[in-house]
Amino acid sequence: MDNSRSESFPLRRRRVVEALTQTRNDLLVIAGLGSTAWDITAAGDRDLNFPLWGAMGGAISMGLGLALAQPTKRVLVITGDGETLMGMGSLATVAMQAPQNLSICTLDNEHYGETGMQLTHTSAETDLAGVAAACGIKHSGTIRTEQELLTSLPQILEANGPVYYVIKVRAEKLDFVLPPKDGVHLKNRFRQALLGSDAIQ
């Protein structure tokens, strides 16, 4: 097992998230706990971001519930490889519901970034895009380069889904860019921005 191959992956996670969210308009974004929550915040803390600080394994399911509730809005789940592995069954649940407006991107650095950079299963033989495809998710694939990222962006942001991509990113320790951690505040600001002021009465 190669402990260090992901240290030389060309794509950098903050650049990837910037590319995914730069044209966002009313894109609804859920981020899994840890690095991806800091990444979406580094790209600009928004009311229509829901960064998780816990609930590991829940990001994809949360995105599914939101996508089914808001079928005319694009929902993008951005999460990590460890978080995806913990809720891998939710890929089967997504495939069964097949919401057209749901895209999921796993930023895969092959490590548990918040706990000391221990290797995850994707550093060995596990292929999460293969898992998603085998679950029956309509579009799935793996992105390793800037060119592949740019080519895939229209599909991630506009194609009839569900869409699932693994985006292989460099294993690196970056500065924390922390979103608000008050869960009620995160929930209320999201609902107010999406549904209007009456939603938080």
């Binding site: 859920i30 609930a55 649940t93 869960g183």
Partner: protein
């Protein structure tokens, strides 16, 4: 009225639009009714904890949901309940109980007999229905506690409401 129809009516009156479940024999009729209802999105889960996160997402999107599971599934939810605990997402759960009443399978006892304690410890209020005529009012109350009170609430549907399950070893109504 059969007890499960009272749950279904309560879900409809509360404007529940997403019903997520891991199946249980006790919930079978209710799941079937939800599946043929075009106003309800009925979502099969691979594990119950998915449902906690799913309902949180639905609520972010302005839609009410409810979760159906067996008592054994409650144990699968514990850490995910921290999501609704921290963010105050309304989560109504309807739990068919095992391990409490003429239980044939001793493997059900460990979780069935600790379900209420586990839920309460995780911050979920529990109500228990032991007879069919209680199910309607308690279903309404459970949904109201979640959606008006803004909390996590569970209705425990006692094993007395279900046929005794004997795995083909002696009961005419083995389910």
């Amino acid at each position: 009225m059969e007890w499960w129809k009272q749950v279904y009516d309560a879900l409809k009156q509360a404007d529940v639009k997403q019903v997520a479940y891991v199946p249980d024999a006790g919930h079978a009729a209710l799941i079937s009714a939800c599946l043929v209802d075009n106003d309800i999105q009925t979502i099969a889960l691979t594990t119950e904890e998915e449902g906690i996160a799913l309902l949180a997402g639905a609520w972010l999107g302005g839609v009410r949901g409810a979760l159906l599971m067996q008592s054994s599934g409650v144990g699968n939810c514990i850490n995910m309940l921290s999501l609704s605990h921290t963010c105050k997402f309304p989560i109504p759960i309807f739990v068919t109980m095992r391990g409490l009443w003429h239980e044939f399978n001793p493997w059900q006892n460990a979780m069935g007999q600790t379900t209420e304690t586990a839920l309460n410890t995780a911050g979920v209020q529990t109500l228990t229905a032991t007879s069919p005529d209680e199910v309607g009012p308690l279903s309404h109350a459970t949904l109201d506690q979640a959606y008006t009170g803004g909390g996590m609430s569970a209705l425990l549907l006692h094993q007395r409401l279900m046929p005794v399950k004997t795995f083909g070893k002696g009961s005419p109504d083995d389910g």
